[in-house]
């Protein structure tokens, strides 16, 4: 009788395992067909010369050698790094300020939360077209504002020195997405910690440094990683607003890759570029995870 029950239990476990695999089967297939397979394939293609219509030719590391000798490749990497390492920290900083602001206990604060969030919903295409108009040197809103406060208008998107900063300024308009994630993080901080800090006589500033900021680091870390990965793949703004100009100052990595692949059909070269970007992003993500031990504070750490 016990043996019978054990068999029944074993068959239940087995059917659970079978169903488990059955239910994740679409994902497993998708992972093989749309992720792992293409990754390996693009690695292979990066060692060939292939223009789609002609048969592919194995060239070894030649595409990578060509890539590292290509000034425009380095320029696109520089432009993208500028966008990532200047834009992302500033963006996160403003998002944090906004999150702290709308976390205040004021009547009607809900209205401000909505108002700050809404711009981040706008589609990047519509956004880009709107901001070309805002940055218009003669009739745009940006220069109207500068002239209103008594400054000279700027050639925002026509000046190679200003085009990247202009795109970063534009990105501040959509801090709302990060703001709400940080806000959720702020809401998750237990009130008792603030009360305990208040009893200890901590003022606003030391409460912020000793309670808020440490407990917010997981949300900041998550935002930082996702934002950096996203910013490395910046494309649409440059494609629509500047077409990579002026003088290649907004030729971002993905735009250059897109042109190599879909305008010049140099699939081997573009695949090599894709893999280089993948390695760069992977390195940064790994590096952040390693450094995160030093500054990201998880609540569970206290109990250990």
């Amino acid at each position: 009788m016990f043996a019978h029950r054990r068999n029944r239990r074993a068959s239940l476990l087995w059917s659970e395992a079978r169903d488990g695999y059955l239910f994740i089967l679409p994902w497993i297939l998708g992972f093989i067909i749309f992720t792992a397979g293409p990754m390996l394939a693009s690695l292979y293609i990066s060692f060939t010369r292939w223009e789609i219509v002609t048969p592919s030719v194995w060239v070894g590391g030649a595409q990578y050698v060509k890539l590292f000798n290509d000034d425009r490749f380095w320029l696109s990497l520089y432009n993208t790094s500028y966008y990532v390492f200047v834009g992302v920290p500033l963006h996160l900083f403003f998002a944090l300020l906004a999150a702290l602001a709308v976390n205040m206990n004021l009547r009607g604060i809900h209205f401000f939360r909505t108002a700050y969030y809404v711009p981040s919903l706008t589609p990047v295409v519509a956004n880009s077209i709107l901001w070309v108009w805002i940055f218009h040197p003669e009739w745009g809103l940006a220069n109207a504002f500068l002239e209103w406060i008594g400054l000279e208008g700027l050639y925002w998107l026509q000046d190679p020195r200003l085009a990247k900063p202009a795109l970063i300024v534009m990105s501040f308009w959509s801090i709302g997405g990060q703001m709400v994630i940080l806000l959720a993080g702020l809401k998750g901080i237990p009130m008792e910690l603030y009360e305990a800090a208040a009893i200890d006589g901590a003022n606003w500033w030391s409460r912020f440094w000793r309670v808020t900021l440490p407990l917010l680091t997981p949300a900041l870390f998550f935002n930082l990683i996702i934002a950096i990965i996203g910013a490395f793949q910046v494309f649409t703004q440059a494609y629509i607003m500047t077409e990579g100009g002026p003088n290649y100052s907004t030729l971002f990595y993905l735009l250059y890759l897109f042109r190599a692949a879909f305008e010049n059909f140099r699939m081997g070269y573009a695949s090599a570029m894709a893999w280089v970007l993948f390695i760069i992003v992977l390195t940064f993500t790994a590096l952040q995870f390693m450094l995160s031990d030093r500054w990201v504070f998880y609540e569970g750490d206290v109990r250990r």
Binding site: F34, L121, F235
Partner: protein, 284 residues
Amino acid sequence: MQTMDSRTAKELILAGFWYVILSIFALTLALPLVWLLSTSLKTGGQTFLMPPKWIPEPVVWTNYSDAFKAVAFHEYFWNTIRIVIFATTGALLTASLAAFAFARLRFPFREPLFLLVLSTIMLPSIVTLIPTFIVFRTLGWIDTFLPLIVPLWFGGGAFNIFLFRQFFMTIPLELDEAARIDGASNFRIYWGVILPLSKPVLATIAVFAFIHNWNDFFEPLIYLQSPENWTMAIGLRGFQGLYHTEWNLMMAASTAMIAPLLVLFFFAQRYFVSGIQMSGLAGR
């Protein structure tokens, strides 16, 4: 008593100070949208005024009908809706099914497989783009909606699996066990017990999938070529190519693309909030 009063007075002044700061910030963020709307209702001549006029005079509503006459936005709209419906259905079904397994069934290598799911969230999609494009090209799927729909029937996106799993973990396991004692199969538990309890997360993911498809530019740009297959995003870009000096018409077209999203946001606000709170959990 006196100290109480002076304290409330101080608090009132402080609150007033914060309202001013918050309002200045809100106004700054609102200006581009106001400018968009204002330009979209101006005559061509009025767009070229410095300093700009904020209130259009006269108000030219026909800019919208002119923009819609110039390019087949209604076709782009229906194309986008079709892609959204088929892609979202696939994502909801296959992501929730996988998440159900990860949250509520025991099977070997469950944890490492789920880590694999999570790690693909951080994968830059560009590294898979070219071979995927070639596969779709070989299948003859270029210039069809299939490349934008079919991948979502295979797992529905790692982040959606993550969100579903987060939600499913909050439902008591006793419900499954009770159903199992009644002889329900695992699929029956998923379909008949868990999914009916998961309407909030289903709505949240549907809303986010809608926004994603509505806004997505890169993939439709690569896969959709003939104008009759364009989505709103590509159509707007095409419009820009044709009317790049007629700012009032371009702003009308942009407004037409932004407005449905704002409407959706105001009707589905609570799903946005819950989705964001759940994705905020990713930081924990």
